[in-house]
């Protein structure tokens, strides 16, 4: 049975269409990422799935049952970590875990076994007598995740769990998610960080309530149709202003390491250098690179706005 099946989900708040008809499935042991900026509709999808919000249209099937009408079933079988998770600040790490275990009526024996495993995952054992409020941001997130796992849900749903967490703690957090998935837990996770998108088994790139793409990250990466070049320069913003309107490149985007331009006419490295010289753009080097997910996302957003522009005309 596929744990999560969503068909044509729509949800509006007043005049704002937050989710405009999306469909996807999350399979057993899969990490599925909802990737997109704030306001893309990620939280709305998650809240409808965990039965906190009714959809306007569409169908949400959780472990074979319709979410509507089965609220109790959904809530006792899903692990949900909202954006602002509230731990009990004045309880210790261990007390927090016990509290969530008791809440879900998990016997003390089972709690003991689980805690051993969760401490191994989270490396929180040395801090088990520390109050939650005295933990670092990354440790708080790991404790929140551990609390949510105390009732051993088969499906876990996390809304931007790593927001504001440093890269090392984020990477540790993702290691835990991956090992849970490896054991057969299905994971639905939202994030605005592109580097995390690449760690998912499957992703939906979300923008303004729509899926711009839904695929495995490596398939999406291969979908970039033109050769992509990196122009390294100390004057990246001047270079951008000179190049972004040129016909020669279908995409020209600012990145931290320079400009990424797509060579739709196959000029190659030498040809591109010629264009830069003609336009008096200073550069240090030009070389071929592979597209990353941010390149893909930018292209899809641009294609989308061009299509909707044509429709309006």
């Amino acid at each position: 049975m596929i744990p999560i099946v969503i068909n044509n989900l729509k949800k509006s708040y007043g005049a704002v269409q937050a989710v405009k008809g999306v469909s996807f499935e999350v399979e057993v042991g899969e990490v599925f990422g909802l990737i997109g900026p704030d306001g893309a509709g990620k939280t709305t999808i998650i809240r409808t799935l965990v039965s906190l919000l009714d959809p306007d249209e569409g169908e949400i099937i959780f472990m074979g049952k319709n979410v509507i009408g089965n609220t109790k079933f959904v809530r006792s079988n899903i692990g949900y970590m909202p954006q602002r998770f509230s731990l009990y600040r004045d309880l210790t790490v261990e007390e927090n875990l016990r509290f969530f275990g008791d809440l879900f009526k998990v016997s003390t024996d089972v709690q003991d076994k689980l805690m051993k495993k969760l401490y191994a995952f989270s490396k929180l054992a040395p801090f088990k007598n520390r109050r939650a409020e005295a933990l670092s941001g990354g440790m708080k997130q790991k404790l929140a995740l551990s609390c949510m796992l105390m009732h051993q849900p088969k499906v876990i749903v996390l809304d931007e769990p790593t927001f504001g967490v440093d890269p090392v703690s984020r990477s540790e957090f993702w290691d835990i998610l991956k090992s849970l998935a490896h054991e057969g837990t299905s994971v639905l996770v939202s994030t605005a960080y592109m580097d995390e998108a690449e760690l998912c088994d499957k992703i939906a790139l979300m923008f303004q309530g729509n899926f711009l793409a839904l695929d495995k990250p490596d398939k999406l990466l291969q979908s970039y149709e033109f050769p992509l070049y990196l122009i390294e320069t100390d004057q990246v913003h001047t270079a951008y202003n000179k190049l972004y309107k040129l016909e020669e490149f279908s995409d020209c985007n600012l990145f931290g390491n320079g400009l990424h331009v797509s060579d739709k006419n196959n000029y190659g490295e030498a040809g591109i250098k010629g264009i830069l010289d003609k336009k008096q753009v200073e550069y240090k080097s030009v070389h071929r690179i592979e597209a990353d997910l941010e390149d893909i996302f930018l292209k899809l957003i641009k294609d989308g706005s061009e299509t909707s522009g044509r429709e309006q005309r």
Binding site: D166, P167, V168, S169, A192, D195, G256
Partner: protein, 246 residues
């Protein structure tokens, strides 16, 4: 006022909390017009350092001159000469765009005439005239972000602190934002960025990485990548921060 030619001049800066050295003998300089990235793991001492630089917390020892003012003596002057844009912004959602600008103008001590001129300037610059009297809540996130940046610049500070300025913003708006930052840098404004977003860090001219209260790396992003033989800043960061634990 002291003029060392740097917007931020820090020497042997230390801050203790009890016996804990939150910031441990840190030294660095930031030039006018520089975009300086300030990175580190949670708890490495970034926030403590920034609070000292903003005149919100006294150092235990060492020296720090910010925009020409001493963090021990001139804390009020520092506050007038720096701007601060918080993570996920601090605009009043239920005020209109114009009201927000006027409000912050007041907070920064501008007089009525200055507020009027500055409001017009900003609405021009942000191309927000059409939306001047709409509620801030109704604006797309990318616009709110540019607005938050502009209100932090109302009192024409020499130095502006940005805390994860583009997290949660779509990739296009993020780039528009960085184009604004580069323009400010060309005008001579100094930009001090803290972020956990390594793509964002790479837009900076120079990066420092803190670990256990110390600055353990300080260089151009490109040079750091070469030094650590890493393709991305993410890799560099992981290697730098985990070096001791490993």
């Amino acid at each position: 006022m002291t003029n060392s030619g740097y917007t931020v001049h820090v020497e042997n800066l230390t801050r203790m909390f009890g016996t804990f050295k939150a910031v441990d003998n840190v030294s660095f300089q930031v030039k006018p017009g520089e975009i300086f990235g300030f990175l580190g793991a949670n708890g490495a001492g970034k926030t403590t350092t920034i609070r000292m630089l903003c005149g919100l917390l006294l150092p235990t020892s060492g020296k720090a001159i910010v925009a020409g003012y001493d963090v021990y003596k001139d804390t009020e002057a520092i506050k007038r000469h720096i701007g601060y844009m918080a993570q996920r912004f601090s605009l009043y959602e239920d005020l209109t765009v114009r009201e927000n600008i006027e409000f912050y103008g007041g907070v920064y001590g501008l007089n009525r005439k200055q507020i009027k001129t500055k409001t017009a300037e900003l609405l021009d610059y942000l191309k927000l005239w059409e939306h001047a009297d709409k509620l801030t809540a109704s604006l797309p996130l990318g616009w709110k972000q540019r607005m938050a940046l502009s209100t932090a610049l109302l009192h024409n500070p020499d130095l502006i602190f940005l805390d994860e300025p583009t997290s949660g913003v779509d990739p296009e708006s993020r780039r528009n934002f960085w184009m604004l930052i580069y323009e400010l840098s060309e005008q001579g404004k100094t930009i001090f960025v803290t972020t956990h977003f390594m793509d964002e860090a790479e837009y900076c001219h120079r990066l420092s990485i803190m670990r256990d209260g110390k600055i353990v790396e300080l260089d151009k992003p490109q040079s750091l990548k070469q030094k650590y033989k890493a393709d991305t800043m993410q890799d560099v960061f992981m290697k730098v921060v985990q070096k001791v634990e490993a």
